[in-house]
């Protein structure tokens, strides 16, 4: 039994129950709902980029196909599998907290962090390759589309969307990794259990949302004909 649980029994008040809530049930409902409002905002935040992508793809379909030729679909598919795997371990971390299995919670969060880091590392390698091939938009864009040089500006536009969308996604991954480190520490300290697993659940909502963004980015950026 952890010290936190002992305190709870002595004071009849859970140490993580905030004073403005009636009980843990109400606190859990409120925090989950609040996180969903944030996720709703994130859906529309990324939605703006997806909308702009769709409008410009409708304008320049050939350039989009030419740009997607420079994406390695095998790396993209492998990274998709890594990210789905990290969503599984994140969901299992919530399950472990609900089952009061402290070390399993810690290890599932560590696995999520490791898989997330692998994803960002692979993304970094892909960025390095694109920059190396002169595909980074702006003054460093030295690429010329050989078959039809007229498509070159369109390819640059595609790569602008590629870097903006995957970059914003990767930024969310890095923020998530930072949060995971904090959560691993909290889980290790024994903060979470069947009565109080809300924060792990909310961490999961964020992580799964970022996974969903990638589920759409993968076919839209790697698998265009």
């Amino acid at each position: 039994m952890t010290t936190l649980e002992t305190d709870a029994h002595e004071e009849h008040h859970h140490p993580f129950l905030q004073h403005h809530f009636e009980d843990l049930q109400q606190q859990h409902e409120a925090s989950t709902l609040g996180m969903w409002v944030f996720v709703a905002q994130e859906i529309l935040f990324f939605g703006g980029l997806f909308l702009a992508y769709a409008v410009y793809r409708a304008m320049f379909p050939e350039a989009w196909s030419a740009g997607a030729e420079h994406q390695d679909w095998m790396i993209g598919a492998a990274n998709t599998a890594v990210l789905i795997g990290s969503s599984l371990t994140m969901a299992l971390a919530v399950w472990a907290a609900q089952m009061n299995r402290r070390m399993l919670t810690v290890w599932m969060l560590v696995a999520t962090l490791v898989l997330g880091s692998v994803f960002v590392g692979v993304k970094g390698f892909e960025y390095y390759e694109h920059v190396h091939h002169g595909l980074f938009p702006g003054t460093h864009f030295t690429y010329v589309h050989e078959a039809d040089p007229a498509l070159t500006p369109g390819v640059q536009l595609f790569m602008t969307f590629y870097f903006a969308m995957t970059g914003l996604h990767a930024l969310h991954m890095v923020v998530g990794a930072g949060l995971l480190i904090w959560f691993i520490w909290r889980a290790w300290r024994g903060h979470f259990g069947p009565e109080y697993y809300g924060p792990v659940e909310i961490m999961g909502l964020y992580w799964h949302f970022v996974d969903i963004v990638w589920i759409f980015l993968f076919p839209l950026l790697y698998l265009i004909h």
Partner: protein, 108 residues
């Protein structure tokens, strides 16, 4: 008296919606199979159907994640309202924007 208070505290603990491990692994396998399906479908030239099909698969994957990994299937009705409204506003944004771009008198 103290014991009674303790029982009350227990009664107010979050309701346990503990999902089964089989469900989590089942959803994971479904997501992996759908990822392979979206790659396989993209290797076949279906003309104008390639992108809609890729989007349908992505939507199915997203719904699986939202319902089961994000536990919306066992969430309160208020949570459902927030989730559905987010996608409703997203649809409004897409529909109104394309209602403009696709109906202009000059090629977009």
């Amino acid at each position: 008296m103290q014991t009674h208070q303790h029982d009350e505290q227990q009664a107010h603990a979050p309701a346990h919606h503990v999902a089964s491990l089989a469900m989590y692994f089942g959803v994971f396998i479904a997501l992996m199979v759908l990822t392979m399906a979206t790659v396989a479908v993209s290797r076949i030239d279906l003309g104008a159907l390639n992108t809609p099909l890729a989007l349908v698969i992505a939507i199915v994957k997203a719904v699986l994640v939202i319902l089961f990994f994000m536990h919306v299937i066992q969430s309160s009705r208020l949570t459902w309202v927030v989730v559905v409204s987010a996608f409703a506003w997203l649809a409004v944004m897409f529909l109104l924007t394309f209602a403009d771009y696709l109906t202009r008198g000059w090629p977009v």
